[in-house]
Amino acid sequence: MKIYVPMDSAAKALGADEVAEAIRAEVEMRGLEAEIVRNGTRGMIWLEPLVEIDMDGERLAYGPISEDDVPALLDGKIEALGKVEDMPFFARQTRLTFGRCGLIDPLSLADYEVHGGLAGLRRAIAMPQDAIIDEVKLSGLRGRGGAGFPTGIKWDTVRLAKAPQKYIVCNADEGDSGTFADRMIMEGDPFTLIEGMAIAGLGCGATKGYVYTRSEYPDAVAVMRRAIEIARGAGVLGADVLGSGRAFDMEVRVGAGAYVCGEETSLLNSLEGKRGVVRAKPPLPALEGFLGRPTVVNNVISLATVPVIFAKGAEHYANFGLGRSKGTMPIQIAGNVKFGGLFETAFGMSLGELVNDIAGGTASGRPVKAVQVGGPLGAYLHPDQFDTPFGYEEFDGQKALIGHAGIVVFDDTADMLSMARFAMEFCAVESCGKCTPCRIGAVRGVETIDRIKEGDESAIPLLTDLCETMVDGSLCALGGFTPYPVMSALRHFPEDFTSQKEAAE
């Protein structure tokens, strides 16, 4: 008998460690033959801690399980939810990047290989560099960190750059509210990221990699560090990657609480030990990145998707999706929803289906008022826009963005003026300070919204003007995109910006 209890930090935040300990004690007391495996999460967070019991070749799920449920669970008195693969939320997904997450012991390289791991890297080792790049180009993979830039083109720039030392930097700074895919895969299938970075290294001729992650993610840091040690011990990393005669090694670095350090040039400054101020482009990081050397900066999910592309072939991957949004996206369903968690699916599902059907509507049972997609720099969408298919261009057409694909649902108690104010406040707190429209504009934005709140409608055109200045005059997307949530709130929910005074009286 094998008993799976997730060690994902969301599961732990809901009591998974206590459940695991209670199971261990109960198993010992009863003298059962059972192995307890701490897996990643399957991504159905509303069911965490989700315990799976594998008996006679059948692996059944139970959840949410509390410490107190453990005796009944082992007595067989708790009704199973069935096999995870048969549960509707899971069965409707296309799991490519997250295929192993939650299924295996994240720190067992043997499990990883049994479930298809390292096949991609072995294939890449046998390919010349330009063929590796072509494979990534053919897959249609675009950066999952937000901007959606074609990954193959970025890699090619680094490959063609001449330098004695090049780097692969994984952007694991995941600061967007409503997102947790990077964290989930680092905790649940860290070897996928390691393998993806090694393939990037081979393709671009880079021998050193860094994973830059947040200090708010101590569990992910610990799992990644341990996985890197294991991979090094097994010859997956090091001077001779899987006997290829080529080197690639990597380490984890931890940020220090600055949202802007997710911006790639700010991240590079931080990695170098400087203030995390944004750098002007050009030069592109691909040509002058970490320590002035050619550097690939890619999001965790971009890199963690590379192994499956190489294992199954670029075409297999590109056959999923919609238009120029190829493949799958791990959509993170968060906020006021019944079924929150990670839902990996081909691009193209409508926002309405995601919110009403997959997420099951609001947890509060009240009507959905707004959905913020793409983190604190993403627009608020109105239910009138629910037909929009999930894709880069489709969201752009709605003056919105998919970003890192977090969707945060709000019910009708949300006050959109407050949300707009928060967006400006967040920008003011997190601004790197390099340019005026962002540094000063965000502070003025808060003040202007406060005037609107007090009933001064003449401040509305001022806010619109200010947003235009921020869009046009900011160096990076922190100042440049904060107007997305602000203006979308104003556009779609004007009543929250006008009736304040009357409501207060």
Binding site: A10, A13, G175, F180, E216, D219, G257, K274, F290, G335
Partner: protein
């Protein structure tokens, strides 16, 4: 991560030198050094400034610039335990703002405040990656999902802090 006051100057100097040399071989060693110093002392002691500048060949102004840029780095001791409460959007969507205000009132603290006995500091944080089980908070390195008063108190208790924010032993 249990911040301690430096016991005596000699030990501090030695500890600081040890931390600096342990990270000197890294590319971009400053942040790892600052994290290690903060893990050791609970803050980045002023005694470390000169040796850091010397080892990394940077000016005092450059070091100051880095220290002030990042929210994490502290220049003086804060609470022996840190409670971070998420203020970001997903937590707001499920009543996080009201919950945070309620918990702050219970502790008698404002954001960035520390209890009189120095046991607990409360800080805002913007997303803990717990957005599917919001609202969220973190006590030292223990995460709390679906935050409410009883779940917070349980987490505080696990690190030896009472619901009032005072240390159990104090």
């Amino acid at each position: 991560m249990t911040p301690t006051q430096p016991a005596d100057a000699g030990a501090t100097t030695e500890t600081i030198a040890g931390i600096i040399s342990a990270h000197a071989h890294l590319e971009g060693p400053l942040l790892p050094m600052l994290h290690a110093l903060q893990d050791e002392f609970g803050y980045v002691p002023a005694e470390a400034h000169a040796p850091l500048c010397k080892a990394l060949k940077i000016t005092a102004a450059e070091l100051k610039g880095v220290l002030s840029f990042y929210h994490d780095f502290k220049d003086r001791p804060h609470g022996r335990h840190v409670l971070k409460i998420c203020r970001a959007e997903a937590c707001q969507s499920v009543g996080g703002t009201a919950m945070a205000e309620h918990l702050l009132a219970k502790l008698g603290l404002d954001w960035h405040g520390t209890t009189p006995d120095g046991a607990l500091t409360v800080e805002p944080v913007y997303c803990l990656g717990m957005c599917a089980c919001a609202p969220a908070a973190m006590v030292d390195e223990t995460l709390i999902g679906r935050l409410d008063e009883s779940r917070l108190n349980k987490a505080l208790k696990s690190v030896g802090v009472r619901a009032t924010g005072a240390e159990v032993s104090a």
